[in-house]
């Protein structure tokens, strides 16, 4: 079979940029409609219903749902058997080219600027931008490319906790973050909340962001105890007494996802991320024969991605035992 062409890769990247900016993912829309039904306060209910109307208008008129089209970024999962033209740097070039074209065509706001000189190329491309995170998958010949358009100013924080702080420490940090950024709604809640626990500081941030952005509403961590904690913390987030825009209400979290990574024995780093009211993501799968399928579930957290052992097969068995 011929290798996957660079044209197919660039087309996939361009299409997911358009889809992410315009079409709210179905799982999230279902979740936010549930929040609208459960919200008892008039002002908070009005805000959520207005957002639903906004998503419908975006799709009907092919307009971006939010003018802050965020910092577009990519998550790429390459199957072990995938063959593609241009190599990895060729794929990175396609990603940058599609980002620039979509910025002009959608149109998206060229948010990306140099952090010091505030200069830009008006195309969301620059030094270290857009970010591309890579992962790999055994026994697959496809390439999955996901884009996420996430705002970047408010709603995310990191704290080094200690083992003695326990789950209470995570609760306290989550409350601190939601309340600090929830005031006046700067975090654009209700949102999908992602919590990263463990790893190094940087992987902790990365895991939390991926938990918020790359898992769909209703998805639960395969570790039963972590899944229970997800539901408990979501319930607590919605019981603060705060809703959208920081108004009185009961809607902070549409869902809450936790991801973990093995960490330093003396510490328990935690990060909290809120993926804003307009949770924008889209995924393309480029099959080995070059045809492209689009979806809204990134399917990023595969059993392989969460493996624990040296060998993949061994790790799989270990997980099977734990989650049984």
């Amino acid at each position: 079979m011929k290798p996957i062409s660079q044209r197919a890769i660039e087309e996939a990247c361009y299409e997911i940029m358009k889809k992410a900016a315009v079409d709210i993912p179905e799982d999230y829309l279902t979740g936010i409609k549930r929040s609208a039904e459960q919200e008892k306060e008039a002002l908070s209910g009005f805000v959520i219903r207005t957002m639903v109307r906004n998503y419908e208008t975006a799709t009907a008129e092919r307009r971006p749902m939010c003018a802050d089209t965020g910092l577009p970024r990519y998550f790429v999962k390459v199957g072990d058997h995938a063959r593609f033209e241009g190599g990895f740097t060729g794929m990175e070039r396609s990603i940058r080219s599609a980002t620039a074209r979509a910025t002009q065509d959608v149109p998206m706001r060229p948010n990306r600027v140099h952090p010091l000189w505030r200069t830009d190329y008006n195309n969301n491309v620059g030094i270290n931008a857009p970010e591309v995170e890579w992962s790999f998958e055994p026994d697959a010949g496809w390439i999955d490319i996901t884009t996420v358009h996430k705002g970047g100013l408010f709603g995310t924080d990191y704290r080094m906790l200690f083992p003695g702080d326990g789950i209470d420490g995570i609760r306290r940090f989550l409350l601190d973050t939601l309340i600090a950024f929830g005031k006046r709604g700067l975090a654009c809640q209700p949102a999908i909340i992602g919590i990263g626990i463990g790893g190094s500081k940087d992987t902790c941030m990365q895991l939390g962001k991926q938990a918020a952005c790359l898992r769909i509403v209703g998805d639960r961590n395969p570790d039963r105890k972590i899944a229970e904690l997800e539901l408990e913390l979501m319930e607590e987030s919605n019981s603060i007494g705060m809703g959208p825009m920081g108004f009185v209400g009961s809607s902070m979290a549409v869902d809450l996802h936790i991801e973990v990574g093995y960490t330093h024995t003396g510490g328990m780093p935690v990060s909290v991320h809120t993926f804003c009211l307009s949770s924008r993501r889209a995924t393309a799968r480029i099959h080995a024969d070059g045809h492209i399928e689009y979806r809204t579930d990134p399917k990023w957290f595969t059993p392989y991605y969460r493996r624990e052992g040296v060998d993949w097969e061994g790790a799989g068995l270990g997980q099977a035992r734990r989650y049984a």
Binding site: A42, L43, G45, F46, V47, R49, T50, M51, R53, N54, Y55, T57, A58, E61, R63, P64, M65, C66, A67, D68, T69, T103, Q104, D105, V106, P107, M108, R109, P110, N122, L153, F154, R159, M160, L161, F162, G164, D165, G166, D168, G169, R172, L175, I179, K183, R184, G185, L186, C188, E236, S239, I240, G241, P244, M245, G246, F247, V248, C276, L277
Partner: protein, 226 residues
């Protein structure tokens, strides 16, 4: 578009807004605008207020509504502009410019995201007969984009870029917005914030003390933070 059947009050305002129409607005009222609005944020304020550059047009003759906004826009080959979505940006950052800006432009409606400190309404906006409207959500970009009928002009595009340039939009049924501050300087965000504060202590009840205290958890610099 059929509007939601809510308990909340809805008000349409023609721009430039008259003092009588502004007097009808109360914190929590839902507002739709018709007429012209202009965008201005730090790039524009800096030029006019710090560098004393002349305003590109006598704004007050056209409108008295300042939108803290950066549109998702791009230019067409024929020199016209395409506006996809329109969303406000957080206003608290512009607080320091507001007094001089309102004086220079006779602006009476400030529209943005998240409001400004409640003291600013009492000290700066209300004394100048100005109110603050907040966008809803905050991402109603498509609804607001739909309300923008035409780009009348864009100033300082070359110098400031798309996000910071001064756009003049002709708008119709442009909204919804929520009134944050009224002519008396009352603030919806402040009122709601106080109500929310009353329940916050309860959320923390029973949680054990953290192993390491940090600044931010106490404001007293004399506290030993271990």
């Amino acid at each position: 578009m059929v509007r939601q059947d809510d308990m909340l009050e809805k008000i349409d305002i023609d721009l430039p807004a008259s003092p009588e129409s502004l007097a009808k607005l109360k914190p929590g009222s839902i507002v739709y605008l018709n007429g012209v609005v202009y965008t201005a944020r730090e790039g524009v304020y800096d030029r006019v207020l710090n560098h004393k550059e002349a305003l590109p047009v006598p704004i007050h003759e056209v409108t008295n509504a300042n939108f803290h906004c950066s549109p998702a826009a791009s230019s067409n080959a024929d020199g016209s502009y395409r506006i996809g979505a329109v969303t406000a940006t957080a206003s608290f950052r512009f607080s320091k410019y507001m007094g001089d800006w309102l004086d220079a432009t006779k602006t009476k409606i400030v529209i943005g995201k998240g409001g400004m400190p409640a003291d600013d309404y009492k000290d700066i906006l209300a004394p100048r007969g100005a109110v603050y409207l907040t966008t809803v959500g905050y991402g109603t970009g498509a609804l607001l984009g739909q309300g923008v009928r035409k780009v009348l002009a864009v100033h300082w595009l070359e110098e400031l870029g798309i996000a910071q340039a001064m756009w003049m939009f002709e708008v119709s049924n442009f909204g919804p917005f929520l009134v944050d501050s009224d002519l008396e300087g009352n603030s919806l965000f402040a009122e709601q914030g106080e109500l929310v504060n009353q329940s916050i202590e309860k959320a923390y009840e029973g949680l054990r003390k953290p192993a390491l205290l940090r600044y931010g958890e106490t404001d007293d610099r004399k506290d030993e933070l271990i």
